[in-house]
C-alpha cells in the first residue's frame, strides 16, 4: 500500500473530490443536472414538437399521451417549451456566472493583494456599484442596445461579480500574510505570477462553492427579468417566461404554472445540494483521511 500511496501525490483537490463523491445527495443532484443539461442541449433531438409549433384548434389542454405535459393557450407543446426554455435558463445561469467569476475573482484578487490605497479605491467602487439599482441598470441597457441574450449575460454578470469580488478580496487579504506568499516574493516571482499561480488557486474553494450558489440566483434573476418582459422574447422561451405565462393562466390551466415551476425549483434544489456538498468537501478543516 505505501508504495502505491507514494507513487503519485494526492492533491487537496483530489482529496476533496473523494469526500464529494461520498455525498450521495450531491452526486444524485449532479446526475440530475447532467441529465437536464443533456436534454436541454439536445432539445431538437428529444423534443416531440417545434417550440413555436401552434395547434390553435387544440388550445390549452391538460397532460395527455400526445402532449405529456399538456399544451399552452396557443396549443404549443409544454414539454418541448420547457426543454427549450431550459436551454436559455441554464445557459444564462452558466454564462453569467462565468462572467461574474472572471471579473470578480480577478478584481478581488488584485484588490486584496495590492492592499493600501488601490484596495480602498477598488472596494469603494464595488460599494458604489452595490448601491446602483440593478433593475434600472438593465432597463437602460435593454433600451439603449438591442435586446439579446449576450446582453443579458453581461448585465447579470456585471451585478453578480460584486459579491464575488468582496469574498475573494477578503480571502486574499488573509492569504497574503501566509508565509508561502512571502516565500514567493522572496523567490523574486513577478506579482502577476504570484496572484495567478499562488493566490487564486488557494481561494478557489470558497469561490467554487459561491459560484454554484450564484447559478440559481442568476437563473432566478433571469426569470425575474423575463417576468418583467425584459429578458427573453417570445416565441423563444425560458423558464422564467413560462412561469410568467403560467401564472397569468393559473386558475384555468394550472399545469402551465406547475410544470415549469417544478423544472426550475428542481434545478435550484440540485444546484444548492451540489453547493453544499462542495462546501463540505472543500472545507479545509475537514479531516483528511
Amino acid at each position: 500500500m505505501p508504495d502505491t500511496y507514494l507513487d503519485k501525490g494526492t492533491s487537496l483537490w483530489q482529496d476533496a473530490m473523494r469526500r464529494f463523491v461520498r455525498n450521495r445527495l450531491a452526486i444524485f443532484s449532479c446526475a440530475f443536472l447532467a441529465a437536464l443539461v443533456v436534454l436541454a442541449v439536445l432539445a431538437p433531438l428529444f423534443a416531440p414538437y417545434s417550440y413555436a409549433e401552434q395547434d390553435l384548434a387544440l388550445g390549452a389542454a391538460g397532460p395527455s399521451v400526445r402532449h405529456w405535459l399538456g399544451t399552452d393557450i396557443l396549443g404549443r407543446d409544454l414539454f418541448t417549451r420547457i426543454l427549450y426554455g431550459g436551454r436559455v435558463s441554464l445557459m444564462v445561469g452558466l454564462c453569467a456566472t462565468a462572467v461574474a467569476l472572471l471579473i470578480g475573482v480577478t478584481y478581488g484578487a488584485v484588490s486584496g493583494y495590492a492592499g493600501g490605497r488601490l484596495d480602498t479605491v477598488m472596494m469603494r467602487f464595488v460599494d458604489g456599484m452595490f448601491a446602483f439599482p440593478f433593475t434600472i441598470f438593465v432597463i437602460i441597457l435593454m433600451v439603449f442596445f438591442e435586446r439579446s441574450l449576450l446582453l443579458l449575460f453581461t448585465a447579470i454578470g456585471c451585478v453578480e461579480w460584486l459579491t464575488l469580488a468582496r469574498i475573494v478580496r477578503g480571502q486574499v487579504r488573509s492569504l497574503r500574510r501566509q508565509e508561502f506568499i512571502e516565500a514567493a516574493i522572496c523567490l523574486g516571482l513577478p506579482r502577476r505570477r504570484i496572484i495567478f499561480r499562488h493566490v487564486i488557486p488557494n481561494v478557489l474553494g470558497p469561490v467554487i462553492v459561491y459560484a454554484t450558489l450564484t447559478i440559481p440566483a442568476v437563473m432566478l434573476l433571469e426569470a425575474f427579468l423575463s417576468f418583467l418582459g425584459l429578458g427573453v422574447q417570445p416565441p423563444m422561451s425560458s423558464w422564467g417566461l413560462l412561469i410568467k405565462e403560467g401564472a397569468e393562466a393559473m386558475e384555468a390551466y394550472p399545469w402551465l404554472l406547475i410544470f415549469p415551476g417544478m423544472a426550475l425549483s428542481a434545478t435550484l434544489f440540485c444546484l444548492n445540494f451540489v453547493g453544499d456538498g462542495l462546501r463540505d468537501a472543500l472545507d479545509p478543516k475537514a479531516a483528511k483521511d
Partner: protein, 333 residues
C-alpha cells in the same frame, strides 16, 4: 570582499504611536562561506533587519535608509522593486520559521522547487524538473523520485523545511537568510536541519545569515555572532570568543539564562524587566534600565560600537572604559 555589506541600516515605521525604530543603525558584513548568527529576543529587529536587506519591507509606511549596501560588490537598491525582484531568489534568498505554511498547498513539490529556475533562468519546465529532483536529493529526502510528485501536506514539518531549503538553493544564491528555520521543529529534526545547512553551506559556498534566539544553535553552527537589542547591535564577535568572554552585560545575561548553565537545585535565571518600547526615544544605552552594571552615565551617553578584541566589538560604555572586569563565567557559581 564581503558578499554582503550593509552600513548604518535604519528601518523606521511611522505609526500613530510615533516612529518605531525597529532597526536603528545596524551594520552587517558577511564574508563568503561565512555563517553569521543574529541573536536577540523577540522584537529586537532581527527579522526586520533581514527583510529590509531583502527589500521586503513596504515603503511607505516604513522608511528604510542606509549609507551603503552591496551584494557581492554590486550596489543594492532595496527600494527598486524591479531590480530587487531579479536579485531575490536568484542571488539572495530566504527560508522561514514555519515550514508548515511556507509552501503553496495546491502546487506539487516539483513545480515549487523548479519555480525559481523558471523565473530567473528562463528554464523550461521539462529541463527544470530534473534539476528539482537533484535539489531534492541534495537535501536528503528519501525516495525523491516519487516524493517530488507529491503535495506539501504529504510531507512532515522537517521534510517541508528541507523542501524550502532545496527551493532556496536551487539557483545557487550567494546569500541565504535563515529566519529561525528550526524554531517550529522538534529538537531531533532541528539538529538534522542544522547539519544539512552546514553541509550545503560547505558544498555550495553560500553565505548564511542565521537569525535565532537559541544560543545552542549559534554555538553549533555560526562562525560569528551579532547580538541585537532594541534595534541595535550591542555586541559582535567570533562565536568562540563570544561564549568564552562576552563583552556586553546583555550577552552575559543571555548566556547566564541558558538552562544548561543553571546550577542544580537553583531556579533558572532570567533577565528582569521588559525590552523597551521602540516607539519612544531612547537616550543612551537601551539595555541600561535592566543592566546590573548601569550608571547614570549609561542613560545619557549615546551607544557606539567599538573594538575590544580581535573581531570583537561591544556597545557597552563601561566595558569600553574598562570599568567592569571580566564577564560571563560567573553563571555556574
Amino acid at each position: 570582499m564581503p558578499i554582503l555589506s550593509a552600513v548604518n541600516l535604519r528601518t523606521h515605521f511611522h505609526t500613530r504611536h510615533g516612529v518605531v525604530r525597529a532597526v536603528d543603525g545596524v551594520s552587517l558584513s558577511v564574508e563568503q562561506n561565512e555563517i553569521v548568527g543574529i541573536v536577540g529576543e523577540s522584537g529586537c529587529g532581527k527579522t526586520v533587519l533581514c527583510q529590509s536587506i531583502m527589500g521586503l519591507i513596504p515603503v511607505p509606511p516604513a522608511h528604510v535608509s542606509y549609507d551603503k549596501m552591496s551584494l557581492d560588490g554590486e550596489p543594492l537598491h532595496t527600494a527598486d522593486e524591479r531590480a530587487m525582484r531579479a536579485i531575490r531568489g536568484n542571488h539572495m534568498t530566504m527560508i522561514f520559521q514555519d515550514p508548515m505554511t511556507a509552501l503553496n498547498p495546491y502546487m506539487r513539490i516539483s513545480d515549487q522547487i523548479a519555480e525559481p529556475l523558471r523565473i530567473h533562468r528562463g528554464t523550461r519546465r521539462a529541463d527544470a524538473l530534473p534539476k528539482a529532483l537533484d535539489a531534492l536529493k541534495a537535501v536528503g529526502i528519501p525516495q525523491p523520485e516519487s516524493r517530488i510528485r507529491q503535495y506539501p501536506h504529504e510531507f512532515s514539518g522537517g521534510m517541508r523545511q528541507r523542501v524550502c531549503i532545496a527551493m532556496a538553493l536551487i539557483t545557487e544564491p550567494k546569500l541565504l537568510f535563515a529566519d529561525e528555520p528550526t524554531t517550529a521543529l522538534d529538537v531531533t529534526v532541528q539538529a538534522q536541519i542544522l547539519a544539512l545547512l552546514k553541509e550545503l553551506q560547505a558544498r555550495y559556498g553560500v553565505a548564511i545569515v542565521f537569525v535565532t534566539h537559541d544560543f545552542g544553535v549559534v554555538a553549533g553552527l555560526c562562525d560569528r555572532v551579532m547580538v541585537m537589542y532594541a534595534g541595535k547591535v550591542v555586541e559582535s564577535a567570533p562565536t568562540a570568543a563570544l561564549f568564552a568572554r562576552p563583552e556586553h552585560p546583555y550577552t552575559e545575561a543571555l548566556l547566564r539564562a541558558l538552562p544548561a548553565r543553571a546550577a542544580r537545585g537553583q531556579g533558572l535565571r532570567t533577565i528582569a524587566g521588559q525590552p523597551p518600547d521602540l516607539a519612544r526615544q531612547i537616550d543612551g544605552c537601551a539595555f541600561a534600565p535592566r543592566c546590573e552594571y548601569a550608571t547614570p552615565e549609561c542613560t545619557s551617553v549615546e551607544m557606539k560600537l567599538s573594538a575590544c578584541g580581535s573581531g570583537h566589538t561591544t556597545a557597552c560604555l563601561r566595558m569600553q572604559k574598562g570599568e567592569i572586569g571580566e564577564l560571563g563565567n560567573r553563571g555556574a557559581e
